[in-house]
Amino acid sequence: MMPFSGRKDGLSVSEALPDRSLFTLVAMMSFLAALTLAGATGARALSARWAGGAAQLVTVQVPDPDQPLKPTSNKKDPTGPSRAETVLADLNTLPPGTVVHRLDKEELARLLEPWLGEADNSALPLPAIIRIRLPDRTQVPNDLEQTLTAHVPGTIVEHNASWGERLKALANSLLACAGLALLTVGGIATLVTGLATRAGLSTRRDIIEILHGLGASDGYIAGRFAWRTAMLGLGGSLAGTVLAMVPLLVLFRMAAPFANISFQSDTLLLPDWKTLQNVIPTDMLVAFAALPFAAAFICWITTQSMVRLWLRRLP
């Protein structure tokens, strides 16, 4: 007895050109999709980071910090607290757990070094810089700057949150772009699969009509085509995703110092799998693993609908 391998119905004749081009096209689109996903993962991490920490950070600048709050005629006999001390006292009213730190001379010098050099800058009239970190889930009071300037004129409150907000907005719009790019890639995949299916239908038209006449159901015929394109989509997408890992790994290697991860061996171009796990974010790995299946599904559903629609011309 001959083993029954595959379904011998004339539809598995798969050497037609459109099939192979579908594999290549899906591979190229998955390559694009994988890169987009990597970008999206980066943007999402940035967005999360900025949404997390930045809102809690405030910097306060007090010009002429050592001047007394109320100028008196007698400069040698200052009365009352200095301007900086007044601001620091005001900051005591912030929620408990707040860390208030006035930069000392050395810290200030280090901060200014890139601009002023290592020279002795004690002669320069430097403002006092006060860094504030609020505890989690608290907010900088909206009227902080108002209160401080009313009390100590010239005080500048730099709310890092506004920077954070802007960066977060940037990250979010990057995410939106990535989403749009993925949608577009999906749309092109649908189109390409549709074209390949149409080509397959027209070259196998006679066979389909014969099978239909012999009592093949729409589900059977559509299923035969859909499995074929789904498998091509799966394979093509797998190839494209794996290929996309190459430029991404190079990128991650370059980004690794920033990400606080060091490679054991610098001589290796590709790190081993254990290192890889640490380098590539888990959610991105999950997205990469899902990509071939998403591609296969797009191919499958497109072909199913197209073939079923096409079969409507036969009763």
Binding site: D9, G10, H212, L214, G215, P315
Partner: protein, 226 residues
């Protein structure tokens, strides 16, 4: 059982060429009808209508006792087609498949067990004289071999209705006579048969009622009750 009531058929809606006009006849289960008429009369068109390759433009039709109309579900037509065997004038074999795989199609589409299918193939191909050509690609067959393969495919699943369009025109006389004997036997066993032909000798050999078509009209129905 087949019953047509005032059935008309146009090839397409746009072209106003009526191919079949106002056909009314019926064939009981197990009945045999020759389908006769000059070339272009509409014999092949009527057979394709009975094979559900197309639906009547007008009129009512019953096939194997079941109604045939656009209102029916597609699965209904699929089930009906699986109970019909058709020998096309141009055989309609799948060229990329072997003789055995072409003949196995009706059974495989009905998901019969593969060992059962193999037995059926052996038996039926031996019967049509293609026992040695089992694995030959359909594309390599002569006209007569193709026709015998098509006949084997039309009867392997024991359909309740067999339609044949000039099924002997590529066969030698002895083969044609064997086929005719088998058709008679199948009809006696309860299979409804409609066979279109030009071959006068065949008709004389198997005397059964005929349906005469001319320019798409039924001009004589020998099976009609007087």
């Amino acid at each position: 059982m087949i019953r047509l009531e005032n059935v008309s058929w146009r090839r397409s809606k746009k072209q106003n060429t009526q191919v079949l006009s106002d056909l009314s006849f019926s064939i009981p289960q197990g009945g045999f009808r020759w389908l006769l008429g000059p070339s272009g009369a509409g014999k092949s068109s009527l057979l394709s209508l009975l094979h559900l390759e197309t639906l009547p433009t007008e009129g009512r039709m019953l096939l194997l006792g079941k109604p045939v109309s656009k209102a029916e579900k597609r699965a209904h037509f699929v089930r009906l087609r699986q109970r019909i065997g058709m020998v096309h004038q141009d055989y309609k074999l799948i060229p990329g498949l072997s003789v055995a795989d072409n003949v196995a199609l009706p059974l495989r589409l009905q998901k019969r067990p593969e060992d059962e299918i193999q037995d059926e193939i052996q038996a039926i191909l031996k019967w049509v004289g293609l026992g040695e050509r089992l694995n030959a690609p359909a594309a390599s067959l002569s006209g007569g071999e193709q026709q015998r393969t098509a006949i084997a495919r039309a009867i392997i699943h024991r359909p309740g209705l067999i339609l044949a369009d000039e099924p002997t025109n590529a066969l030698e006389e002895s083969q044609a006579h064997r086929l005719l004997d088998m058709f008679a036997e199948l009809s006696d066993m309860g299979t409804t048969m409609v066979v279109a032909t030009h071959n006068e000798a065949l008709i004389r050999r198997l005397e059964r009622p005929a349906l005469y078509l001319e320019r798409g009209r039924l001009v004589r129905d020998e099976g009609a009750a007087p």
